[in-house]
Symmetry: C2
Subunit: 190 residues, 2 copies
């Protein structure tokens, strides 16, 4: 049996990673979704191993020390990370796994897992991205300007990725990502 | 405008290159098909530039000398070849072009045009290939054995290609080739 693939889907905040990932679930049903580890408390209805792997602070620090995470970051006082184990188990069983992650995290994953397929989701244009960020209607002008400047810096990291997919329409973007997965399985000398 | 791609579809005789190519015409309508040059006489209804580029023997020799062909071969007293010009014009116009060709020819094209995408069409199994060759019902046992041995030698050249596509069902094979084309267009640092 041949190994599965790790597909890392990344891109600037506001580009629609989450929406595209949800749509991919429908389109490519036999794709596994990477489950993150976290130190934050489970919310009502959240299950260990489904929504997150919930760990204590000490357990998380031990996982970092033992190199059990492909990347990790701190966010509002809690740790979040990608367990290497879950990814490796899935691909060793011959199943593909997709990881949706922001740009800096994806580049850290690439250091530890260079055989992954790194896909960068692009907005159709910077104007369109600005519209999407503004469209949420919750941000001040200063915040929007800051997020746009971060997005531009992130798009400049495109060259570290394998594929660029423009998120012009969700269906088209999903078809391109599905095509990338099919093509990668046909590759000789991966 | 970005350049088009040259997709070279190859594989052993009997694997179904022609059938898959015809089905692709329906599935991917904006794909151009490479037109061969030949010294053989046009048959009734054949048009220059549509079915073949028809050339005199002298013209063909001059095209070889001037490196105007990506590959050429002699077959029952006539020359056949792939005009470089037609391929380059098409991809410079931003359109993809597909070339259906036997294995040795494909490897010659690769020498002159390494930026092409080389796709090897595989039978689901060697037994299945034998069935397909026998199924034509026109060959002696010795011919079938010879063709099977050539096919095995050709399949051993797989490593020189970029992608392997199993022709289990025409629709699936076409979807894989279409996916390869879409994915190649998404590639960063081609």
């Amino acid at each position: 049996m041949s190994k599965g693939l790790l597909i890392v889907l990344s891109g600037p905040s506001g580009v629609g990673k989450g929406t595209v990932c949800s749509a991919l679930r429908q389109r490519v049903p036999n794709l596994t979704y990477s489950v993150s580890a976290t130190t934050r408390q489970p919310r009502l209805g959240e299950e260990h191993g489904v929504n997150y792997f919930f760990h204590s602070h000490d357990e998380f620090l031990r996982m970092i020390a033992e190199d059990q995470l492909l990347e990790h970051a701190e966010y509002v006082g809690n740790y979040y990370g990608t367990p290497r184990n879950f990814v490796e188990k899935t691909i060793n069983e011959g199943r593909d796994i997709i990881l949706e992650i922001e740009v800096q995290g994806a580049l850290k994953v690439k250091e530890k897992f260079p055989e992954g397929i790194f896909v960068f989701l692009l907005p159709p244009s910077l104007d369109e991205l600005k519209d999407r960020i503004q469209g949420r209607g919750t941000e001040s002008q200063a915040t929007i300007d800051h997020r746009m400047s971060v997005a531009v810096d992130e798009i400049n990291l495109l060259e570290h990725y394998d594929y660029a997919v423009v998120n012009d329409e969700i269906d088209s973007a999903c078809k391109r990502i599905e095509s990338i997965i099919i093509a990668e399985h046909c590759k000789i000398n991966k």
